[in-house]
């Protein structure tokens, strides 16, 4: 038993020794283990191993930090940012490298890696970043960049001995994935409006503008027209907006309904174009001023606003100056100007007014020129003020400023005493009872644009003015003896029409005596009865003339015509005569008093 046991131990020892030997040989000649076993002394076995650098590993995939996609592209000159996180087993710092290709980049010892193909293929590289800390890489998009730009993210270390890049690149996911998209500014080369325009019209701005970006769909452009140079990138500022176009692929336009009233001058209008990513154009016509021109428009007058008024602005036109002109009649009107009543220089928009005043039978067309002037029925504003002193002025305070389109004007003027009367209700009252007086007015603005000559829709009456002069304050019969008389009647009193109607007269008188006015007691020897005075419209025989009677007297159809010349009044004489009664014995100064009552004559006799 013991012999057999001893034999087993021997075999085991031999086997173990053999295994050890074979293993030692195997290690000695292995190509993978750079261990110089040869240097091992035969009696001392020293082990040595060099562990090589390993590249960093992705812990968080690289992606765009701010989405740069078709919907939210990165504007040229703006920054694209990538982030990614890597862990380096050596705990070495790493670099996030953004390349344009999938070719493996080159890791550099103690330096940032470079993309395959060099800098031209590189978007950017992060600073050396501590392992497991997020690395950030940026790139400023260039105008020259294409719209879609592929990117490939790499991570590399900068191991001084054996720098390594991870062989796996990343391209992001979802919206933050490659490519990043560059948005370019729209082009804006022309900005004009279609003015000049009138107030209240619509002004349209047109532009030549487009956007070359088509990636993900054609970019659209929008035109903003601002009242001031204050566009903030997406809207006009405090100055206000004229209009904003709809988004369109090119050449946007927009329009604006101009205010009414609006002063005739130039107004700034600044044009701005942005694309549908709110990226504004730069240069060209961007921010240029198209300058709207508001045209001068002619003023107008509503016929209903024209009023022909008496001096006290109530009732008919009342003449009150015999043989002369009565001043202070008025034409009032409201002038409308769509350029407002105030011009751009804060002065009056309406510069002047021309008024004609005439009897309606003459008509507007018949009373316009200086040749039409006739003091009886036509006062044409075209005549000089020495002929007709009409004056028109704008009423103070009637224009409240540039947003007020109306102002009131008042023209004051005189009328001659002989202006045809139009009052009454029959041909006996007035030749022109069926007519009235009308004004027509034309106004001129500060640019010499004139309104139409506008006639008032309603007029006024010139009232009858019964006025006269008598050429004497006394009647002289001459020297007569008792029993003598003026035969035919020959003493005259001249009755002249100094108003605008024809005349008759009523006459009455008193007895004459030397103790006038008290002729009592009436004596045949010292009183000349009133009836001894006779009168007629011509030099009739005394006996044929009319005997003067006491108040109320009798009307004499003198039929003085209506005066038609301002310098030559119509007139007629009354012929007088007296007979001294034979019974008169008292010589002396006989005094009496006759009364002349002026009466408006029947118009048929004017």
């Amino acid at each position: 038993m013991n012999e057999r046991k001893a034999g087993k131990i021997t075999i085991s020892v031999v086997l173990v020794s053999a295994i050890i030997f074979v293993s030692a040989m195997a290690i000695r000649f292995s190509p993978f283990v750079p261990v110089h076993l040869s240097s091992v002394n035969a009696d001392t076995a020293t082990t040595s191993v060099t562990v090589v650098n390993t590249p960093p590993n992705w812990s968080v995939d690289a992606q765009e930090y701010v989405v740069s996609s078709t919907s939210t592209p990165t504007n040229a000159s703006s920054t694209v940012t990538w982030v990614g996180t890597a862990i380096d087993d050596n705990s070495e710092n790493y670099y996030l490298l953004l390349c344009k290709t999938t070719s493996t980049p080159t890791a550099n010892a103690s330096a940032a890696p470079t993309c395959a193909g060099g800098a031209s293929n590189q978007w950017g590289v992060s600073p050396s970043t501590i392992s497991s800390i997020q690395a950030t890489t940026t790139y400023i998009a260039k105008v020259t960049d294409v719209e879609a730009n592929d990117w490939y993210a790499w991570i590399c270390d900068g191991n001084p001995a054996n720098p390594r890049c991870n062989t796996t690149y990343k391209t992001g996911t979802g919206n933050t994935a490659s490519p990043f998209v560059v948005n370019h500014r729209p082009a804006f080369t022309s900005f004009v409006d279609d003015s000049p325009k009138n107030p209240g019209d619509t002004v349209t701005w047109t532009s030549v503008s487009s956007d070359a970006d088509v990636y993900g769909g054609q970019d659209l452009v929008t035109l903003y027209v601002c009242k001031a140079s204050d566009f903030n990138g997406t809207a006009c500022g405090a100055g206000g907006t004229y209009c904003t176009s709809s988004a369109t692929s090119s050449n946007p336009t927009c329009n604006f309904a101009l205010e009414n009233p609006k002063q005739d001058t130039n107004y700034s209008a600044y044009g701005y174009v942005i694309d549908n990513h709110n990226f504004a154009a730069l240069g060209g016509s961007h921010g240029s001023d198209s300058s709207i021109t508001i045209s001068n428009v002619a003023p107008s007058i509503a016929s209903s606003s024209i009023q022909l008024l008496d001096t006290d602005e109530a009732g008919g036109l009342t003449l009150t100056s015999p043989s002369a002109q009565t001043s202070g009649f008025k034409v009032k009107l409201t002038v409308t100007d769509n350029n407002s009543c105030q011009n751009a220089s804060a002065g009056q928009e309406i510069a002047s007014a021309l008024v004609n005043v005439y009897r309606s039978g003459i008509g507007q067309a018949g009373c316009q020129t200086s040749g039409n002037y006739n003091a009886n029925n036509c006062y044409a504003g075209a005549v000089s003020t020495s002929t007709w002193n009409v004056s028109c002025t704008q009423d103070g305070g009637s224009c409240s400023g540039g947003s007020d389109s109306t102002a009131t004007w008042t023209c004051t003027f005189p009328l001659w005493f002989l202006a045809d009367p139009t009052d009454g209700s029959s041909l006996t009252d007035s030749t022109w009872f069926a007519e009235n007086w009308l004004p027509s007015v034309r106004v001129t603005d500060d640019n010499t644009a004139t309104s139409t000559l506008t006639e008032a829709s309603s007029g006024n009456e010139v009232l009858s003015f019964m006025a006269y002069t008598l050429n004497t304050s006394q009647i002289s019969y001459g020297s007569l003896e008792p029993g003598q008389r003026n035969d035919p009647v020959s003493q005259t009193t001249l009755f002249s029409a100094t108003g605008n109607v024809g005349l008759d007269q009523t006459l009455y008188g008193n007895d004459m005596c030397t103790t006038y006015p008290s002729c009592n007691p009436v004596s045949t020897t010292s009183t000349i009865p009133k009836g001894k005075q006779h009168y007629a419209t011509s030099g009739l025989a005394y006996a044929s003339a009319i005997a003067l009677i006491v108040d109320p007297g009798a009307e004499l159809e003198l039929n003085v015509l209506k005066t038609t010349s301002t310098s030559t009044p119509a007139n007629a004489n009354t012929f007088w005569g007296i007979e001294i009664p034979s019974s008169i014995t008292l010589a002396g100064d006989y005094t009496g008093q006759n009364t002349f009552i002026g009466i408006k004559g029947e118009a048929q006799s004017w």
């Binding site: 509503a302 109530a314 409308t336 109306t406 004497t472 008093q593």
Partner: protein, 315 residues
């Protein structure tokens, strides 16, 4: 015989003397305007006034004016504001008088014609030895008393004042207030005013953008009175320049119509401008306001009642 010759010689002498001093050819002038008092629409108890201006050509001296009324059957109705005798002072060329006609309650209908005479004479009478001349003028009077009420008026002038646009307070849209001034003559014999005024507001293209009519009533004019009256109309149109077509009604008859400019200014443009208050609100806005006030009052009432009950319960 000798005595008669002597006296006749004396008379001849005196008339020659008279000729010498009677060759005064001074121009004397007088006039009146209008030379009538006419009204064919008077009725019983009517009052009518006519202003007449007396005009002297050369007022170099004081004159006495004497008025006589000769209108058979109507003398008692007619009066003159200055009385029947008054002075025309030196230097005063024009002297207005007002002739009033007050028709009695009991009077026969018909026409009353006559005249009023105004005679002006020197205070000192004629110069001795002359036949002096006194001037006068006749005012024709025609009064027709009719058994009929005449309700008519004439529109002399119209005018629209500038206004400010309306304002919005909460849900309430207060309109701008158009003040439409009308110079009206009551040509009838009863008190009257325009029954309504309508506006059609048009834009510069002529499109009607609003129709409106006056709120409240327009002040009446007495018979034959001439006066300015004002109609107020609400408008909700924004600031701008518009054309207004207006119509002035006497009952259902359009008495006067025409076009005018309407300038509505931005708020704050007119110093002292007063727009409409609550009365200018639209029916809808006013209804909502009344409901709110009603609800507030109701709530207040319920609250007070609750407090009273609560106090009573505690007591």
């Amino acid at each position: 015989m000798t005595r008669t010759k002597i006296e006749c010689t004396r008379i001849i002498f005196l008339f020659v003397f008279g000729v010498i001093f009677a060759t005064n050819t001074a121009l004397a002038g007088f006039g009146i305007t209008p030379p009538y008092v006419k009204n064919d629409g008077l009725t019983k108890s009517s009052h009518y006034e006519q202003k007449i201006v007396l005009v002297r050509g050369d007022p170099v001296e004081d004159l006495r004016a004497k008025i006589t009324v000769n209108v058979p059957g109507a003398d008692e109705w007619i009066s003159v504001d200055r009385g029947l005798e008054f002075m025309l002072p030196k230097g005063e060329q024009q002297t207005p008088i007002v002739v009033s006609v007050d028709v009695p309650k009991k009077v026969k209908f018909g026409e009353y014609k006559g005249n009023i005479r105004v005679v002006i004479s020197p205070l000192g009478g004629p110069q001795a030895g002359t036949v002096g001349v006194v001037l006068g003028a006749q005012i024709d009077v025609v009064l027709n008393i009719i058994d009929k009420q005449v309700a008519t008026f004439r529109v002399w002038t119209v005018n629209i004042s500038d206004l400010e646009e309306g304002r919005k307070v909460a849900w309430m849209d207060f309109p701008g207030k158009i003040r439409f001034t009308m110079q009206i003559e009551n040509s009838g014999n009863v008190a009257i005013a325009p029954s309504r005024v309508e506006f059609e507001i048009r834009d510069s293209q002529g499109n009607v953008i609003e129709k409106t009519q006056n709120t409240g009533s327009i002040k009446k004019l007495q018979p034959f009175e001439v006066k300015q009256v004002i109609a107020e109309l609400p408008t909700w149109v924004k600031a701008g320049n518009y054309t207004v077509g207006y119509k002035i009604y006497n009952k259902e008859e359009v008495v006067h119509s025409g076009d005018l400019s309407l300038s509505i200014l931005p708020r704050g443009s007119l110093p002292g401008y007063l727009g409409y208050g609550v009365l200018g609100l639209s029916v809808g806005d006013l209804g909502v306001l009344i409901l709110i006030i009603g609800a507030a009052l109701l709530t207040l009432g319920v609250g007070i009642r609750w407090v009273i009950l609560h106090v009573r319960i505690r007591q």
